[in-house]
Amino acid sequence: MYDMKALYEAGSVADAVALRVAHPEAQIIAGGSDVLVQMREGKRAGRELISIYGIDALRGVSLDAEENIRIGSLTSFSHITRDPIIRRYVNVLGEAVDQVGGPQIRNIGTIGGNTCNGVTSADSASTLHAWDAVIELTGPDGVRLEPIHDFYIKAGVVDIRPGEIQTAILLPKASYENTFGYYIKYAMRNAMDIATLGTSVNVRLSADKKTVERCRIAFGVAGPVPLRAATAEAAANGKAVSGELAETFAKTVLEDINPRDSWRASKAFRQHIAVESAKRAFIEAVKRAGGEL
């Protein structure tokens, strides 16, 4: 038995919003692979829960009229990895979430829960930052869109306002079009582990594949929330594709990141693997985009 005070099950988004308004203190639960575990640890013991797990309308990936990708917040990691739209346009996201926990966790864990949790190590978070994802929230006053960068307020805290639930994650076409990405999770084990560092790079090359038109890089666990390395991006944008560029780009990330010492790894080690991961991910992304270096 879980130590919960009450369980309210939402059958629809409208239902969930009404329950959020009626029970402002209650904890939202999506797949439960964080909330139920925390409850077992006594951290959320005695709380009321609003379960949104039953809202099937929040599952699945689709393209809207402008070909922006829409990922329903309750879409599980394994379904994202297998989804044909994800595989075709943003394969790196499918690869990143395929490294969360183990197979059973990827069947229950949702991308909405992964982001609403607000942790810096979430395997989806760095890639979503690198793709300039937009968070869709639905509340009593309707739908609100917010860039993922602003959605993360601080460690463990995201911008979900009273009455709201996260309903989708959007990837704008302008962000993913003709762009190729690569994700590196650095962890102690190959499964059932939390990232020591997560690095997600994506690049768009010129038509002749010789110049970097646009490069983006985001890290998890390089700061209290997932972050973009803007100085490094600027160092690569508009430059000729080369091995030298990969080195320069990678070293520049140190100007942007702010990792900490933790029992998992020291700050110095995280800085070291950030540079190395940035280089490797950049090279792989360029190769996927058809570039040679």
Binding site: M1, Y2, G32, L36, V37, R40, G102, Q104, I105, I108
Partner: protein
């Protein structure tokens, strides 16, 4: 006086191992609790209870889930399969269970039902996986005595046999 807790219950209707069932459960119950206590599906083990070891793994609508971190009420309308569903009409073992016996992929047996249900999902996908892929697909299970090599061998052997193929050596 301590606050009195009012028990909140819900009637759950689902398909368990091919049979439609119905049970009124405490909403605080995990699926593990319901399967073991209300249906005596004791193949579903209580291991870590935090979704790490895989001993409580069952198939829900064909996908593997750790039932310890799954609310019992979420099973409503779903199709749940436990190891008990693999038993033949006269109590025979299924091919995957027999392969676990033959390959000595069992010692204490506590992790086995969970691992086998993941193997069932792997086998029913109809795909022929590489060893590396199988290792990844089986990575959500902890076994503290057999070691993983014999488990891998048992799953691989059954996978090849179901495809009507010879099992490659090594």
């Amino acid at each position: 006086m301590a606050e009195k807790h009012v028990m909140q219950v819900k009637t759950v209707r689902f398909n368990l191992n091919g049979k439609d069932v119905e049970k009124t459960v405490d909403v605080r119950a995990s699926l593990t609790d319901m399967l073991r206590n209300d249906f005596r599906m004791t193949s579903v083990k209580k291991g870590c209870e935090v979704g790490e070891c895989g001993a409580c793994n069952v198939l829900i609508d064909g996908e593997a889930f750790n039932s310890c971190i799954y609310l019992a009420v979420w099973a409503d309308g779903k199709s749940v399969r436990t190891l008990e569903s693999l038993l033949g009409p006269n109590g025979e073992l299924s091919d995957i269970q027999q392969a676990f016996v033959d390959e000595a992929a069992i010692q204490c047996g506590f992790c086995t039902p969970g691992v086998i249900m993941t193997a069932v999902e792997i086998l029913e996908s109809g795909k022929l996986y590489t060893d590396e892929e199988l290792r990844k697909l089986l990575s959500g299970h902890l076994c503290r005595c057999t070691g993983y090599q014999n488990i891998l061998r048992a799953v691989k052997k059954t996978m090849y046999r179901r495809h009507g193929l010879e099992v490659p050596q090594n």
